[in-house]
Symmetry: D3
Subunit: 251 residues, 6 copies
């Protein structure tokens, strides 16, 4: 920590999202010695657990299974994980849920935030999570905003203005997702694959998201140009940077 | 060069554009020991020299004045400059003009390209310059595209896929210019100011673009957040990155 | 039903919307022997009943009048109709209202859904209805989402992924309504006209929407091309398809 | 009033917004003898009072200070001011808050409405204020919509359809703010400056917004063309007209 | 002229466009005593004269017929008309054609310019005309731009920066035409109708564009609000203002 | 022909584009007994033949190789093919090139047209091909537009208004490609694969575009919903319909 003060905060609507969509970025961060914290707003217990409902399992058991899988996946990525258990399908936005996210932001002090993009015609929970994450990131910057229990002054320091990146939705074009950052995850991909394999109920997704990493890797190479000498098997993840990049060098 | 292989190529429709819009980026590059090459497609002899026409000067003299001023400004920024003398108002797009830019690209081997944005309702030469720059950058990557004189094989190596940044137009909102990169030019600003002062006919612009640098500097600080400890007098320039950023780290 | 399993579900913010905006599509469906079900989220009792308020009628009477008119119009179109009575001006979005729509979706098993577009600067109830309809359509697909009374398992089967079409708002350009489907309603128009005439308080709209059908009919012919030999008096309705069309043939 | 029946209504999320963003338009209106009414939805007590929280002041005192400053600024502009005290950071949208704004609209009978634009990634209170203002403006037109206390008939007349203008956010491009109206505030600027100086805690903003007025003034001149003979020191404010302009003359 | 120095310049791709799309604005201007000049870039001899080609008429005769009709229509509107005879289907953009339009701009000294919008998937000549009109308007402002015959100095004064309005295309939504100005043409409509009747080959359009004027008139009333007391039979035309409006009053 | 009058016209900038991007649609059409005609505007001899230039082959030989490969691929798909040999990198738009495409349109009488989308930051030839194809499709509808050799009357009948579909570019999101039609090519895929294998120089693309077909197939299934019972291994291609769909049934 002393050597690398960077901290990645990942706000995920359901328990599996962070693996498919941002597993490479998370693993790359922890491999660099950075801290990564995943916050799952729900377990995806209603909307993304069809096979378990079909098997007649009760709600609590489904939530427990999803939690266990997500913990294993986070562990494989070297990340911490916590759950707000706000319910899904629908994930309902509320002042109180945002306030809890404000607490998390101040406790974790992220230097980078990852979350869902703001549009997804196939799943309203994803934009709801994004709206709450964005609002919490702003509120957590204000010294006048109290803790979620109403107490004051704030338990933790206010935060700065960490950049926000939206990770890739399942149907990118339909979600108006036009990547402006392509992340090279070649070295991190084995950990991402390992994390995906912690989610056995969605085994058909392992290959799907491996192929997506290959396709985004082709774009990494194409946009970097031949001069950079990236290897043939470059793997990638796509992101949308929400706020302007601040930099001292155009490159 | 051996120490810093980066080379900035700036494609400017008229002789003054690169100063107001990208002077900070150019100076910052040369201060880092990088090479910067400005290509002026025209001198701005018809569209941006009203006072000289009013003074009754002939075309050739106007072009000579504009060339001299631009050379002085480039020199102040530490940059090389060349002129394609394609005429302005209108700057006419042609296959031959693009071919000359392909030659330049291959000779210069840019690692970064700066040019105008693709829309400007107030000045059609700016988007025309941008379209030609973008097309030349693509053609210069193809080994099958000949030199501008039709000879073959190519005199210089083909280029890679350097990133392209659009610099700020005079009326950004009207030109659909939504910056996604804010460049900190605090250290480079004195050179930019010096270069602006090489353009005496537009003295009222010196202050205008100093104020713009202050305003963009406020945004640099706001988007970086308080944590980065940027100084009170941070100066900035705004850019639009055209292709996705390729990176190994989200930050 | 056995011969034609298709079912059209129309989600309408107020009691009259489905007539002006989708009457042709509804009549065309029922004329093909399909089932059509209209759900009115409110009666339009506050926002679209000015003449009755001016006449000093009480709320309940206004609602009763509007219900009766809507039932007559639905009957003219060959459609069933039901009312959720959620109130209008404003139509307030709520988890409970969406849950009731989920019940409807599962009970009706629509193969096509029609609703308002997502923007309307003149009437916030319309986008609110659309957001609820879209959310209900997604939730109704999930086996883990309970009935609106909280009971479980679901009374009716979950639904598939029926296509959604937005019907035309009163000021299309201002509502960012760019039709990508033009429906030929020539044969269905007499029923639509008959349904419009069930709404006597808005008599001036009869001619307005007849003329709109003529104008959209001109576009049907123009976009179909002369080869299809459409008749001179082709009548049309305009729609926006929200999800991509799935097809085996490009045509 | 009899001579000039125009009334400007300004809906401001926080206590200072109307000064920086619309002070020129307000002063210009009152200088023409028109009425101007500012409604502050909150005092900006949590999100825009960092120095006072740092000084350890309690909430009530902060609100009182902000109120006093806003009243002084409004007075400098010749405007009336009222406060709904809905809380900020977050400013929570609610049916009741909108109903209160409906009351205000009917009482004030605005001929023009100013408010925030619908997007602002840096401050969610601004779009929330805009959405409530727009909704209230629509509801206030309907005779069937009751007073905010539920009583009926309405205490004041319903309103017409006043045009709405969005004033400029702090980071215009990031807020998708593309001005389509440039207001000449040259004569009104001294009053705007005086109003700004009523907000001592944000002294660094006085110069910032003076410079913005100069920059927008340059655009006023550039878009008006040289023929209009506007003075060198023209000052401006930028606006987005939300509904189409209705006019008898194109000019 | 002395009483009313305003001059309307209408740049029309084909001989009939100005009648259907801007006849109301033209007549309203001439009824106010202003000058209106129509420039037809072509006669529409190939693309909009199908019935005459079917009748086997030769090109020159078709052009003569179209010219005569357009002259009659312009006369009915009280406007002057001239023809550049650049050919249609396709209307080819060229430096020389733009130079001729520069001459026209300087000779006519327009205070307002009307032309086609920049997109029309159904007719490429329309955007081509718009691009040339916009470019000519910019070039005509520059003292260094020569006459179209290359001579210098310019025969007429350079122009200012007249506002530009795009008139309505045949399929507005498909052409991304979102009106931001609604023009009340109630008083001018009889002249517009008279002008339409000068185009006998397109008799079916008379009623079509009368109905469009009614529909746009409904929007004039709706956007003006009931307070303005516009008559029941208000007629309208829709426009898109291309540059920001410059004004001293928000209204 | 008598049995199935449909004819697909595919306008391809380079010799290989139609295979990767539309091979499934072409094969599906010919498998239904329809005619498919591919027009290659160039051979892709400069921009897409790097390995052959590296091998030192002369231009004519490269063109011959590309032609042969494209003929084999077309044959595998059951399609006819012709070449306009307009040159590539850049593919230059010209009136004469468009006129030749008008001839093709009238000779082939397409009922459906496929071409590139209008934006592609990585390859300017693609949008140039699309612009020419769209313009030719419009001009070919006009009886007054002559043959490409200037002769008159037209050798073939004018065409109707066939729908246009844009096929998928290599980097869809960067090219603003938001599919609104998903084509099920499961049955046609073996032919597409066979056609891909006719292009040995781009062997690495075979697997890439096979994986893309799988990914688009997943979206076919997701958007169709489970009710349609599509097989697990559904393959797809994505398209953008440019003009509104004309239909008698919403489905």
């Amino acid at each position: 920590m002393a050597e690398n003060p960077n901290t990645l905060l990942v706000v995920s609507a359901h328990a599996g999202d962070f693996v498919w969509r941002a597993g490479g970025a998370i693993a790359a961060a922890t491999m660099r010695g950075e801290r990564a914290v995943v916050v799952c707003l729900s377990f995806g217990e209603r909307g993304e657990s069809a096979s378990q409902w079909l098997a007649g399992k009760p709600l609590d058991e489904i939530k427990a299974i999803r939690r266990e899988e997500a913990e294993a996946a986070a562990s494989a990525l070297g990340a911490e994980i916590e759950f707000l258990d706000l319910g899904d399908y629908p994930l309902v936005e509320s002042e109180q849920a945002v306030a809890k996210l404000v607490d998390v932001c101040r406790r974790v002090q992220p230097t980078v935030v990852l979350t869902h993009p703001l549009a997804d015609p196939y799943n309203g929970d994803h934009p709801a999570a994004a709206r709450m994450a964005l609002q919490a990131r702003v509120l957590a910057q204000a010294i006048g905003v109290a803790n979620s229990d109403g107490s004051f002054p704030t338990k933790d320091d206010i935060i700065g203005a960490p950049p926000v990146f939206f990770f890739e939705p399942h149907q990118p074009e339909q979600s108006d997702f036009k990547p402006n950052v392509l992340l090279d995850i070649t070295d991190a991909f084995p950990l991402k694959r390992k994390a995906m394999e912690c989610l056995p109920a969605q085994k058909h997704m392992w290959e799907y998201y491996t192929q997506l990493a290959i396709r985004r890797g082709v774009q990494v190479k194409r946009n970097a140009g031949p001069n950079l000498g990236l290897p043939h098997d470059t793997m990638g993840e796509a992101y949308v940077r929400y706020f302007p990049q601040v930099t001292g060098v155009l490159q």
